[in-house]
């Protein structure tokens, strides 16, 4: 074992030095470390944080691959649409094509590279400065970020946002496991509030739409939510929405693949099924309430909220990115509620508030990321009250005994 021995010698040589965390991060990527238990349990379970994070990434990969093809497909479909040709999506006819892939990959892979490159550089820097090991949290964040941004976002913008998200969203709190806000969503929120003209509107969601705007070749980059919010006719069928042949952020369009990812997370016991289900329930309840408002006749078609309120409640789950948020974002164990009861409340409120924001904010109808960030802030409060229940039970027991 030449390589193993050589790396071991190197590790011993750099032990205690400044660069040791950086070296160890790469070393442990190749080899499970030779660390043994001291005191406490003498044996440990097989899985570590690296393995856990790796599963989440694998659950995201289908979305990424689909996103690559979809980026290409939407571009060509929009060009055709501008010429007056309506494209019927077919999986092997015009979706999984080499053209779509090359165009999509050319757009999406740089996003992945920038996200990982910049983010991990910041992580390594902090690990070396603070002298702790490089934690694996960013491996997932780095994968999530390219999936939740518009395909045409300039790379410099993404880089700035990633630095902000990792430093302010995570490292200032002490790194992975200590953060209050989901770092990926912090990055998304930063982009949204720092570059609002870029991140909203109807141009950024399809590759090429921005640079062609105002020219003779102009194409539409409107998302379904945008159409609803403006009260326009939605041109996509429900099946298109479910399969994901629609414009949107890179990786969040295919509901089918998100469900596959959710199953992976639930079956491996990494993602909390409680959060996923309660989020969906919360969204459905809010959708039902709005449907009720419409059918009760309290608002009519002249209202600017009518378009989204009138959407049948269950369709809220397949438009926009609420499913993606519920499965991959809300379940982030660090920023979610940490008690089982708290998870139900936390998830329900996310779903509930997502649809609320979606309906009442026509300027930017995707509310799920704001809802999750909001609930991230309240998660410790929810936990506090759940834990207080346990504390109160204990106090009561004491009173009964002493009385």
């Amino acid at each position: 074992m030449g390589l193993k021995q050589k790396l071991h010698t190197l590790k011993e040589k750099y032990k205690g030095k400044k660069m040791a965390p950086a070296f160890n991060a790469l070393h442990t990527f190749l080899y499970l470390p030779n660390e043994i238990t001291h005191g406490g349990t003498h044996v440990k379970a097989a899985d570590d944080l690296k393995r856990t994070m790796n599963i989440v990434i694998m659950a995201l990969v289908p979305c990424l691959i689909f996103g690559i093809f979809n980026a290409g497909y939407q571009h060509y479909a929009a060009i055709d649409a501008a010429k007056g040709i309506l494209t019927e999506p077919s999986l092997f006819g015009n979706f999984f094509t080499w053209d779509n892939f090359t165009l999509g990959a050319w757009q999406v892979l740089p996003l992945v590279a920038v996200s990982y490159g910049v983010g991990l550089a910041v992580e390594f820097l902090f690990a070396v400065i603070k002298g702790h090991e490089v934690e694996e949290g960013y491996l997932v964040t780095g994968m999530l970020v390219p999936l939740i941004v518009p395909v045409d976002i300039p790379l410099w913008m993404l880089a700035v946002a990633v630095v902000f998200g990792v430093v302010i969203g995570k490292e200032v709190f002490g790194g992975t496991g200590m953060n209050i806000l989901n770092p990926a969503l912090t990055i998304r929120a930063f982009l949204f509030f720092a570059y609002p003209t870029w991140m909203s509107g109807d141009k950024v969601w399809v590759h090429g739409a921005v640079e062609r705007a105002g020219t003779a070749d102009a194409i539409s980059g409107e998302t379904i939510l945008g159409s609803y919010a403006q009260g326009q006719e939605v041109v996509y069928s429900l099946w298109d929405m479910f399969w994901g042949f629609v414009p949107g952020s890179v990786g969040e369009t295919s509901k089918l693949l998100i469900i596959v990812g959710a199953l992976i997370l639930i079956l491996t016991k990494i993602g909390s099924w409680r959060i996923i289900f309660s989020t969906l329930i919360g969204a459905l309840v809010m959708g039902l309430i709005f449907n009720g408002v419409v059918s009760a006749g309290w608002i009519d078609e002249s209202s600017k909220f009518f378009g989204l309120m009138d959407v049948p409640f269950w369709q809220h789950l397949i438009i926009g990115s609420i499913l993606f948020g519920a499965v991959y974002m809300a379940t982030d164990p660090v920023t979610a509620s940490q008690t089982n009861k708290g998870k139900w409340i936390y998830g329900f409120l996310i779903g509930f508030i997502s649809i609320l924001i979606r309906v009442f904010n026509p300027a930017y109808p995707e509310g799920v990321f704001l809802a999750i960030l909001l609930m991230n802030v309240f998660a410790p409060t929810i936990d506090h009250y759940v834990v207080q229940g346990n504390v109160k039970r204990r106090m009561k027991r004491l009173k009964v005994k002493t009385a």
Partner: protein, 450 residues
């Protein structure tokens, strides 16, 4: 009267190398020891000097804070060495044994003549008080405080643990004597847990409250019994005593001698012929380890079970409270892509490409590798699945880490001992040292609240 308790949350670790139900006599050990580290928070004060001749049952040291609590020599021999560590703290007391034991006679204490005072006095002078531990704090019980109940676990569900039904066979008389005596020292009852549908020797004893517990480990932990029967409230004290320690206590009453005999299970995948050995507390582990033979060189010898035992050197001695010696391979080697390849040969509570959940019958051969590096707490909801007490494990651990005494108290710190957190430590993806965190938390509370 028997009450049924069923626990659902837990995890059975099926390890290779369980002891065969055959008892052998371990060769007589050349040296014996008493290790103060076994008696947490006890500061020893020596009564005899190096070179002193001792009978089995002669006092070696007493506790500086509770001078009535005495620690006796398990054998007759010569005290050869008092090992000291930093700040001259006594770390080990070595006694070179004679070939035959002669016992110091305390006199027989008949059940009919037992009163709370005589029982207590006999336990203290007869060296059996250290077997009695108290909660809160999981330390040797304070003789001045009357406990509200006494809890004894009549079985052990820890991996590779000794089968108490087997080792306690024929000891009913001693057990009954010990229980009769102890029952006088509490205002409440003596609660004993036994496994369901099992011929436990405890089932035929009088004066105790039996609880049959079924379910995965930690069903056999005394902490689980306490948690289900009567969690410790603030200001309360309960006692816990190991089932095998009762035999020593009972024999003290019946024969008047401090007989530190112990039948231990020698187990683990590294042991060639795992079986039971009759030996004495403080004996060299090598006496039975080499009798049974080892499969490999690079091993860890653990006095106790693999979850909460203490690792000892191959020349080390059996701990004061232990009923099993486990030997498993050391895992100080790298594993290529060990963090992402599918794993079939290790136990896991999740299904992250780990397949122990598909092999419910397989016996695993675990080593001491941590299977990953130490990280901050990230995953949630994992601990609750293996933790049967009505306590939030992660929250109480965090309270201990930040030394928040109020939160620790509110979250149930009086109810727990480090061993209750052995399983959460095992499944912890972040490889946090839960038992150490809880131990340090208890120590702070002991110091600040007392």
């Amino acid at each position: 009267m028997s009450k049924d308790i069923r626990i659902k949350r837990g995890l059975n670790l099926r390890l290779k190398g369980a002891a065969e139900k055959v008892t052998a006599n371990a060769p007589r050990s050349r040296t014996f020891n008493i290790r103060p580290v076994d008696f947490h928070l006890t500061t020893p004060k020596m009564v005899v000097k190096e070179g002193a001749k001792l009978k089995a049952g002669d006092e070696v040291f007493y506790s500086k804070d509770q001078q009535d609590i005495r620690f006796l020599s398990p054998v007759s021999g010569t005290l050869t060495e008092v090992k000291r560590g930093a700040k001259r703290v006594i770390t080990d007391v070595i006694i070179e044994a004679e070939s035959e034991d002669s016992y110091r006679d305390f006199g027989v204490l008949e059940t009919s003549k037992m009163t709370p005072e005589t029982v207590k006095a006999r336990l203290l002078e007869g060296g059996c008080w250290p077997f009695i531990k108290q909660r809160p704090y999981d330390v040797i019980a304070n003789p001045e405080v009357m406990p509200s109940a006494i809890y004894i676990s009549g079985f052990n569900t820890a991996p590779l643990a000794a089968d108490y039904d087997f080792v306690l066979q024929g000891q009913e008389a001693a057990l009954q004597a010990a229980l009769d005596g102890l029952a006088m020292l509490t205002t409440g009852r003596v609660h004993v847990s036994v496994p369901k549908n099992d011929a436990s020797p405890f089932k035929n004893l009088n004066g105790i409250e039996l609880h049959s517990i079924s379910g995965p480990h930690p069903a056999g932990n005394v902490g689980t019994l306490i948690g289900k029967v009567g969690p410790v409230n603030k200001g309360e004290v309960v006692w816990t005593i190991g089932a095998q320690d009762l035999v020593i206590i009972g024999n003290l009453f019946l024969s008047g001698h401090y007989k530190a005999d112990r039948t231990i299970a020698l187990a683990g995948s590294s042991v060639k012929a795992p079986k039971y050995y009759k030996t004495k507390l403080g004996a060299e582990v090598s006496t039975f380890v080499y009798d049974s033979g080892l499969n490999e060189e690079n091993v860890r010898v653990i006095s106790g079970d693999v979850l909460s035992g203490r690792s000892v050197s191959p020349k080390g001695h059996l701990g004061h409270y232990n009923t099993v010696v486990s030997i498993i391979p050391e895992g100080n080697d790298y594993e290529f892509f060990g963090w992402n390849k599918p794993i079939f040969n290790k136990i896991s509570a999740t299904r992250n490409m780990t397949f122990s959940w598909m092999q419910p019958k397989k016996e695993f051969e675990l080593n001491t590798n941590t299977n990953g590096e130490h990280r901050a707490f990230v995953l949630t909801g994992m601990y609750e699945k293996v933790f049967p007490l009505d306590i939030f494990p992660m929250q109480i651990l965090k309270a201990c880490m930040v030394k928040d005494l109020d939160a620790m108290e509110q979250l149930g710190m009086y109810e727990v001992a480090p061993e209750d957190f052995a399983l959460t430590e095992f499944v912890c993806v972040s490889k946090q040292p839960h038992q150490k965190i809880i131990r340090e938390g208890l120590d702070i509370m002991y110091k600040e609240i007392g």
